[in-house]
């Protein structure tokens, strides 16, 4: 699964740490998701999409391997 969190974050102009605080997770979690090292739970994915005011499919996208 790939995601556009880094881009979305740039649009909102906030850091990983700020996003983490808003969503209520650790900065490491945001960083791991951005680097595709961690696939978030559905709840976390929905919360991120809600914050970015975008549909979840535009933030997270399945890849060939999934």
């Amino acid at each position: 699964m790939k995601n556009t969190i880094k881009v979305q974050r740039a649009i909102k102009d906030i850091t990983q740490a700020q996003l983490a605080t808003i969503i209520g997770v650790s900065r490491q979690t945001i960083s791991a998701i951005e680097k595709n090292k961690y696939v978030p739970s559905t709840v976390l994915a929905l919360k991120l999409a809600r914050y970015f005011e975008a549909p979840v499919e535009s933030v997270f996208e399945l890849t060939e391997e999934d």
Binding site: V25, S26, S31, K35, S41, V43, K47
Partner: protein, 176 residues
């Protein structure tokens, strides 16, 4: 999101960052972690001193203990519920390492979220594999008193391997 706070099987973000609370995470509050480090380091230091610098269990004196079961070395007779004096340093070391290790290993991190819980779980699995891998080899290839030494160390290694592995993963995640 309120209905999500009653999820029984999923992970927690902690009450402070309340999203969905795992009712049974079995983890301890973050505030005890520092105490855990103090106890653990003290226990390990005393344990190393006993093992490598010839300090024996009577070093700080002997105090009475209630032994639920004890055994006379020479006669092999078992005694039940008998109060006997015992050098307490070895008991102290074990208690410090167990309490300290459990606190360090199982106190929540400042923000214990799903990613950190996943690292915690994988570290726990890793440490059980490594611990029993070593024990497996020791059962086959180590005998007599050296095997007894392995057993003594093995009482603590699963906790210590877990703590080491978990903190390595946390450190790696921090640098990402």
């Amino acid at each position: 999101m309120k209905y999500l706070s009653k999820c029984n099987v999923c992970f927690t973000f902690g009450k402070k960052y309340n999203t969905f609370v795992m009712e049974k995470s079995y983890l301890l509050p973050h505030q005890f972690k520092k105490t855990g480090w103090v106890l653990l380091v003290l226990g390990l230091a005393l344990g190393i001193a006993m093992r490598f610098f010839g300090i024996d269990s009577d070093y700080f004196g002997r105090i009475p203990f209630l032994g639920i079961v004890t055994e006379n070395f020479l006669t092999s007779n078992k005694h039940f519920f008998e109060v006997a004096e015992n050098g307490f340093l070895d008991e102290l070391v074990a208690v410090l390492i167990i309490l300290g290790g459990v606190l360090v290993g199982f106190c929540k991190t400042k923000i214990e979220d799903e990613f950190i819980l996943q690292m915690r779980l994988s570290s726990l699995v890793w440490s059980v594999y490594v611990n029993y891998g070593i024990l497996f080899l020791a059962v086959l290839f180590v005998f007599d008193m050296p095997f007894f030494d392995v057993m003594v160390l093995n009482m603590f290694t699963v906790l210590l391997f877990f703590i080491a592995r978990f903190h390595v993963l946390l450190h790696r995640a921090n640098r990402m």
